[in-house]
């Protein structure tokens, strides 16, 4: 799941021939001024912070400018803002267009139908979650025949388009469908999609690409995402790692078991701070790496909960003991372990030899780690 910044999404849109306002990225106030002064971005223009979180408008991250000087001032005001933890480093400057109507349009996956779904609403410019279901049309699209003309007509009808804008929609949907498939997108959202004159223009572009398809998209390699630096390192190592707000680090194998472990900790008053899913591995080095990564997150205590399958208990124990050697004494954390399943005996023995006791039940081990972290259990 890689969210693209608006300007990257619009670069993709441009590649597939979708209708966009004239615009350009700026990284300094001076650049913003120059772009508007030399006509690259016509005036009046809108200046938008390129951050991944939504709700920019309300947060002061979108401003308008009528002159190059105004553009510089606005750019200076937005650049460097912290926006939901994300610093603004890029701005998108775009011509301000005479909007007749704002619509909503997206293509995403319907997990239940197991089909792509085209979602349209005549109420654009607001979050789609806030729009009443009766004003939203959901059109499943089957990948075999692809997006059919009758489906495009249906979308046009729901959006209340006729004439030029309806024709524009036809082409736009064709392009968007191609983009959705070829770029392995999880979501392409245009909100608002604006009626301007006799056609349509995509005022915003939200694109989420599926990183599992990265093997056919070498061009994605250098794309920044909204992962934390540690999450990014974990991703490169093939470890599922999510930073949360608490102080207990959880290492488990398997997404379900890891989540269940978090749930149990929370139930006993603990606050999980790291979700680390080892996945299936029988390489002790990967386990060591995972632990060292965990150490970098500076947890108050760590809970290791393993049910051995593909990942054997002795492999995990070996990797863990090695990791503990490598963590400087000052950075060590209390560790509670529970290892069960394949090669359990061997694993428990390896841990014991290193001075770590494996507590066999989930309840007791969870309570122990919450206590170690200073929680209420």
């Amino acid at each position: 799941m890689v969210k693209l910044a608006e300007w990257r999404g619009k670069d993709l849109f441009r590649k597939y021939g979708l209708p966009l306002p004239k615009g350009q990225v700026a990284r300094t106030p001076e650049e913003a001024e120059a772009l508007t002064r030399n006509g690259t971005v016509p005036l009046p223009c809108v200046i938008k912070a390129q951050v991944l979180s939504g709700g920019r408008g309300k947060g002061g991250a979108v401003k308008f400018a009528n002159t190059p000087d105004e553009a510089r001032v606005a750019a200076a005001a937005i650049l460097g803002l912290e926006f939901k933890g994300e610093k603004v480093r890029e701005l998108l400057l775009e011509e301000k267009l005479p909007i007749a109507k704002e619509l909503y349009l997206s293509l995403t996956l319907d997990r239940s139908l197991r089909l792509p779904i085209l979602i349209v609403s005549p109420q654009g410019g607001v979050e789609i979650e806030s729009v009443d279901d009766s004003a939203i049309d959901k059109i499943p699209v089957h990948p075999f025949p692809g997006l059919a003309s009758y489906e495009k007509r249906r979308a046009g009808q729901t959006l209340g388009l006729t004439g030029g804008p309806a024709k524009s929609l036809d082409r736009l949907l064709e392009s968007l469908w191609t983009l959705f498939q070829r770029e392995d997108a999880e979501l392409v959202e245009i909100n608002p999609l604006a009626v301007v004159g006799d056609g349509l223009v995509a005022l915003d572009a939200k694109v989420i690409i599926e990183d599992d398809a990265g093997f056919r998209h070498p061009e994605w390699d250098d794309i920044q995402d909204d992962r934390t630096p540690l999450e990014e390192v974990a991703r490169e190592k093939g470890i599922a790692f999510v930073q949360l707000d608490g102080n207990i680090g959880v290492i488990a194998n398997g997404a379900g078991l890891t989540m269940a472990t978090l749930d149990v900790l929370k139930e006993f008053g603990g606050e999980p701070g790291v979700f680390l899913d080892l996945g299936g591995t029988d390489d002790p080095k990967k386990v060591t790496e995972a632990f060292l990564l965990m150490a970098q997150a500076k947890p108050k205590a760590v809970f290791l909960n393993i049910f051995g399958g593909v990942t054997r208990c002795d492999t995990v124990a070996t990797g863990l003991v090695e990791a503990m050697k490598q963590v400087p004494t000052a950075e060590r954390f209390p560790l509670v372990a529970r290892i069960r399943g394949n090669n359990e005996k061997e694993g428990v023995e390896i841990l014991r030899a290193a001075g770590i006791t494996s507590i066999p039940t989930l309840r007791e081990s969870a309570q122990a780690v919450v206590a170690a972290a200073g929680g209420k259990a």
Binding site: Q181, G256, V264
Partner: protein, 294 residues
Amino acid sequence: MTVLVDERTRVVVQGITGHQGTVHTRQMKQFGTQVVAGVTPGKGGTEVEGVPVFDSVREAVQRTQANASCIFVPAPYAKDALLEAVDAGILLSVIVTEHIPFHDMLVMYHYSRSKGGRIIGPNCPGIAAPGKAKIGIIPNVVFHPGRVGVISRSGTLTYEIVNGIKEHGLGQSACIGLGGDPVVGTSFVDALPLFQADPETDVIVMVGEIGGTAEEEGAEYIRHHVTKPVVAYIAGRSAPPGKRMGHAGAIISRGRGTAETKLAALSAAGARVARFPYEIPDLVAEIVAKQAHR
């Protein structure tokens, strides 16, 4: 047949010469499964764990009458492997491979279905019926033949729960790991009827997690069609929205897919809901005890 597999299941392992393929071929055989063929293009004529290897599924089916496939091939080639299995007439495929792009899986799913095929997975531990056959990677040791059916979106959590059932002195009729991806070939609504219809299943355990609405749809199915007792557990109650929790499918997006709505739906459909994984065997044992009294 119990559920989907039994003694007549003849498995071809696609990607048998890889590390995972080889290890799990051995374990499937140890479970008692008839693993009759392996396929790795270019490795035809060799043998792995006593199983003949062929260059194509078509050849494997012609020579060994394989009727089910277990797919271990890497994600970039998984779509092709599944299409090959379907075109060779194989109607049950278990896909262990993870990280298959969902756009590929959409094609795989709908093509397979148009040919009357069924996919378990991808990114799943597979299916096992103790005393009969296993396709996939669930550890053999957690099983004991019995009358509890398990359907789960998880891997290791399932092993833990299945093992807990065994440690309670109970056993399983069959266990299906549906897989943790957003698009899976077999979902709760597809698996529930199999256990409901299975004369060897008395209780159904359903292990869900956050993300999507598969559990809600399962609950709806339970409400209308399942007469057997159901024990349900949902992992991810404490997960924050917008974060992918290990599984590609485990994400609360735009307020949908929370544990709360799932638990509420299951509870309303008459399922017994466990708050902790270790409560599941207790609840199952309680139900079994009551059934024995009747």
